[in-house]
Amino acid sequence: MLQIPLFAAGILMAVHGLAGPSLAPKNLATTLSWVHFRGALVLVILFAGNFFCLACPFMLPRQIARRFFQPALNWPRRLRNKWLSIVLFVLILFVYELFNLWGSPWWTAWLILTYFLAAVLIDSVFKRASFCKFVCPIGQFNFVASTVSPMEVRVRDTEICVDCRTKDCIRGRRDPAGGLTVIQRGCELALFQPLKTGNMDCTFCLDCVQACPHDNVGILGRLPAGELIADPPRSGIGYFSRRKDLAALVIVFTFGALLNAFGMVSPVYALQNLIADALHLKHEAPVLGIIFFFFLVAEPVLLLGLAAWLSRRFGGSRKGILPLITRYGYGLAPLGFGVWLSHYCFHFLTGLLTFVPVVQSALSSVGLPIPGPPRWDLGGLPERFVYPIELGLLGLGLAGSLMVIYRMAEEDSADSPLPAFAPWAGLCIILWISAVWLMSQPMEMRGTFLSG
């Protein structure tokens, strides 16, 4: 039910992006994507859970396509990890900067259409939810962010699952009259409910809820970020500490948040000019590539490596550097989410009502009547309300990461967690200070009249 209106909105955005005004603040594609969708997405994840995956419009054409084309192949074993999706996530961030997607309705429309096409093609060829689990960059973002959500899909009473013989939640429910027809899908992301822990890889599709014959699965409340502390074996995922790809995803998610925000403040242009002059580069792509390499590779390697080394040296851990980074890297998720929240909420809240005149203008351009001229005077919240909200969200992100990392340190060394905790806490504080500085810079008002 939720997919239909979002699908309709997606199509309208694509059409308006291709055929509507080329000025970004006057176009649905850019305004709704880069101001409203991103902001609403992170706020829904913050207050509830991964409901955007539940309402994903890309799944609607995929469902329709599967009525005609039954996928026959399993997703390649070598790609059953997050590395491909990490590359795609970084690619989207890169393309966003290189082609100024926020200022280009045309390119934004093509991104939307490409996304639809990719989802339909991949899930028409490969079984289960291969696109969601292994490809979709937005999905991976949502998975990491929703580790901090206050809600989770899980069993109500584990005792009921002990006696369940049919395991419908993962196998699906077959036709009671016999035969092999599945009348209700089970989890296509391989998350077996009795052994599922947390929101990682959960799209909130609720297939498990509908499939369970005992009505024993639901959306339940929980402690945000609590799932990051312990390291139990997780259905469909394994141990977090053994999943370097997942840890890398969380690290890219966090450092990518800072990078994406940095791309919008004036010092980035000074840095780009400095790099271009120093290396005699004339094109933006290699300059951006250098900045991306620094933010997403060099900086994390340096900072995380140093924190791990200090933690090992003074915390008494016998684990290697890489296992320590893999373990504690997950603790950055709340801080990373705080940065994304702070950044996206800035645009969302300051441009809250900007969609109204854009919709009015779009309607009148196709001859539909609207009362009065488009209300271009509508904006959003004043800055003096938005800035404290940004700082508050950053503060909560830091608090969440510190609490998670402290508990991790306690799990590893109950008697003296502070020496193991301190280097990672220092890292979090450094990243937090960077984020506060970034959010304090004049920021381009993307998706509004002042975007650049």
Partner: protein, 184 residues
């Protein structure tokens, strides 16, 4: 008892860390005084001025107000000789004063920015002057200059809900920790 005191001591450490950070942010953080500009709001939208169509967005705060002047033209924006913002209180309390706008380094957009000092919250007349090689013109509007906030006290007030949520979150973590210890 000694172990319980140790646990409370560690929880107290966490609370102390957060409290110090919060106080530093509000009272010591230099970034607070450089809060970013905006959001501006449109005061003039799509007005023809000379060969261009002009829109102006403003953030007219007491202290320094910021104006963004966007120029568009179906035939391409001609070379611009001058963009100025002239302001005067509607009451005539002060003489009109002009402030030049500077071209911003943006792609695909001709946009100028002017920073204008305002000394009081009242209604101000704002005149935007444009001169290009193909002619020019001006457009006038009135703008209410917004009062300054309370500064750091404003910030503390608005941060209060987040501090409250943070403390509740901490309580949740400590409870989970105690439950885990009991299980072990």
């Amino acid at each position: 008892m000694g172990i319980e005191k140790g646990k409370r001591g560690r929880a107290g450490d966490l609370v102390s860390i957060f409290s110090v950070l919060a106080l530093w942010l509000v009272f010591g953080c230099p970034f607070v005084s450089h809060a970013h500009e905006g959001p501006p709001y449109p005061i003039i939208v799509d007005k023809p001025v000379g060969p261009c169509v002009v829109s102006v967005w403003a953030d007219p705060d007491v202290g320094i107000g910021t104006f963004f002047i966007i120029l568009e033209s179906p035939n391409g924006v001609p070379a611009v000789k001058k963009v100025e913002i002239a302001v005067q209180p509607v009451t005539g309390r002060l003489p009109e004063k002009s402030h030049p706008a500077t071209l911003e380094n943006l792609r695909g957009r001709v946009q100028y920015k002017a920073e204008v000092p305002f000394d009081a919250q009242e209604l101000w007349r704002v005149r935007v002057v444009l001169e290009t090689v193909r002619g020019g013109g001006e457009v006038t509007t009135d703008v209410e200059v917004t009062p300054p906030g309370l500064g750091r006290w404003d910030l503390l007030l608005y941060l209060f809900p987040f501090i409250l949520i943070g403390l509740l979150w901490l309580k949740g973590f400590l409870r989970g920790r105690s439950a885990r210890k009991r299980q072990d």
